[in-house]
Each structure stands twice: as structure tokens, then as C-alpha cells.
Symmetry: C2
Subunit: 183 residues, 2 copies
């Protein structure tokens, strides 16, 4: 029987795949994330997972986790919080894809990832590990890789961010924020 996985180190992502082979990335998994909270509650999930970097994960027995969640109210509370966060992220994603421009989607993705890494103390002077290829960004934002390249070029040229190897530096967070939330 399949257990529930929690990422300890490295990046991964969850995605769904379309009949024609294109894919939609549903979420990125950073160290400490459940490989979907849904996996705890239900054995079968209709999505696929893929590693972005070398990943180290822990594998727990689903039954044990459920017992743990049900018996300890502190754990239940924490787990609920986690579900809620995931849910909010999904809602944010729907709103981004439904109602925001390419620039906004890319800006928001970068800021969201930075915020999550910040919580994990993995950002130094606006710089953080960034193992995504532009294809991944395209699949997460519902754009084409070509257009992602153009957006990145524009952001770079405007001095908002810089990419070097597998690391990204946000040079002008305020401006990215502004773009994210302009109407």
C-alpha cells in the first residue's frame, strides 16, 4: 500500500495532464510540504507528481497519520490549517488564471514562491534557489514558454529580477508587487 509522502529536501510539483500531452502544474512542493494533504485523507488522487531537483522525502503510513490527526486535537488543528492553506492557494491560482494578465501571473508566482521560501529561511538578500525551467513556469501560469521568456526579459530589463544559474534574485520587490496587483 502506498504511503503519504512529505518532502524533506528539494523541489517537486503536482500536475495534471491533458489528452494532448500538455500539462497544467497545480502546485509546487517545497521542503516540508505534504505531497498534497489530500493524499492523507484519500488514497487515490488523480494527479501526478514529479521531482524538480533531487528530492528526499519521508513516507508515512496513511492509517497512522489519520489516527494521529483524529486523536490529537492539536494535530487536527494543524492539519486543518494546512488543508486550508492549500485550498486558498488553489483559489488564488484559479483567480490568477481566470482574471489576470501574463505579467501579473508570472510576477505573482515568483512572489508567492519567494514568500514560501522566506518562511523556510531560504532567501538571502532577495536571492533563492530557483530550479524551474521556463517550461514549468509556463505550465503553472497557463502560458507558452515563448511568452514566459518575453515576460522574464521584460522584468529583467526593468531591473526587477535577475537569474543566474539555478538561482533567482528579486531586485525590486515593490515593483513586482505593484504589477501583481495593478488593475
Amino acid at each position: 500500500m502506498q504511503g503519504v509522502k512529505i518532502v524533506c529536501r528539494g523541489w517537486a510539483f503536482a500536475f495534471s495532464i491533458l489528452p494532448d500531452g500538455r500539462r497544467q502544474i497545480l502546485s509546487f512542493l517545497l521542503p516540508g510540504d505534504f505531497a498534497s494533504t489530500a493524499a492523507v485523507l484519500n488514497e487515490r488522487v488523480g494527479i501526478s507528481l514529479q521531482a524538480l531537483t533531487e528530492v528526499c522525502y519521508c513516507d508515512y503510513d496513511r492509517g497512522d497519520l489519520i489516527d494521529c490527526v483524529r486523536s490529537d486535537s492539536k494535530v487536527f488543528e494543524k492539519f486543518s490549517e494546512l488543508c486550508n492553506t492549500e485550498r486558498n492557494e488553489a483559489n488564488e491560482m484559479v483567480t490568477d488564471l481566470g482574471r489576470r494578465t501574463a505579467n501579473q501571473r508570472v510576477a505573482r508566482l515568483i512572489l508567492a514562491l519567494m514568500a514560501r521560501l522566506q518562511e523556510r529561511n531560504q532567501v538571502r538578500d532577495g536571492s533563492f534557489e530557483f530550479p524551474l525551467r521556463q517550461q514549468h513556469i509556463a505550465d503553472a501560469t497557463g502560458l507558452t514558454p515563448v511568452h514566459v521568456s518575453r515576460v522574464f526579459s521584460a522584468f529583467r530589463q526593468a531591473g526587477m529580477l535577475a537569474v543566474k544559474g539555478r538561482s533567482l534574485t528579486v531586485q525590486n520587490e515593490a515593483e513586482l508587487q505593484r504589477i501583481s496587483s495593478e488593475r
Copy 2:
């Protein structure tokens, strides 16, 4: 303290609102639906609810529900299933908005609603109550009302569906299915 609501009769929808006032509909609530399972787990949810028709709902105490979910393993199982369904729907929505055309999004929305109503035995010969304005469809599919009108016109003209008053009839489900899943 705010309780958890379950729709007994009528339609409602959950949505988020953008700084400029546009909105993104996140889900439709049909009779029997929780007003978001998330509301059970966490008191605060960052989304708004609005009724589409006259709605009748039951209001439960959150603490009671949590106790019930935690103490009874059958209930826990059912609740987990519900969370999972919601989650899958959100994922489907992300995929639709990120990767599918206007025609596909509209076709899929109609089919998804029909399927949910079918489970509730509220479809007769392809016809069912349909209280949505085109604005709602637009807000759910990330389109403009104008474009929704065009898509509907095309579907109607192709004999796939018919709208009369607050009721919709799917006349050619197979064709809608085909459009939904064409590459």
C-alpha cells in the same frame, strides 16, 4: 460565532474579488453542498458567498461538526471524501482556466453542473434548472459576458443546447463532450 452552512435548497456560489471589482467564481453550491468544506476546518475563509436563487440552508455549530468528524470514523471517511471532491474540482478548474479554450470551458461547466444535478436527480430529459446569468458563467470561466454570449449562440445554433427562461436543455451531450475533450 459564525456557524457552518449547508445548502438545503437553491443555488449559491463562492467567489473572490479583485481590487478592480471584477470577480472570479470559485465554485457553485447546489442543494446538499457544504458552503465550503474548508469552513468546517477553519473559521476564517477568504472568500465570499452569494445566493443565486432563494436559498434555504442549515447552520451547524463548527465545534460540534469537528467533534463529530473526529469521533466517528464513518463520518471522518465521508468528510475526507468531500474534501477530496472539492479539491479535485478546484484542480479541474485550474486546468480548464490554464489550458482550455473558451468553448471547452463553457461546455465543461455545463456538463459538470449537469452531472452534479444528475446525482441529485434534478435532470429530466437533459433539462434542468439553470439560474445562472451569462455574467456568472463569464466569472466562472474567466471570460467576458460578451464572449460567453457568442459561445452560447454557437452552441445553440449547432443544436447542442437550448435555454428557456431559467431552464437549460442539453440536446446533444455527446457533441458537448467531444468539444470538451478535443485537443
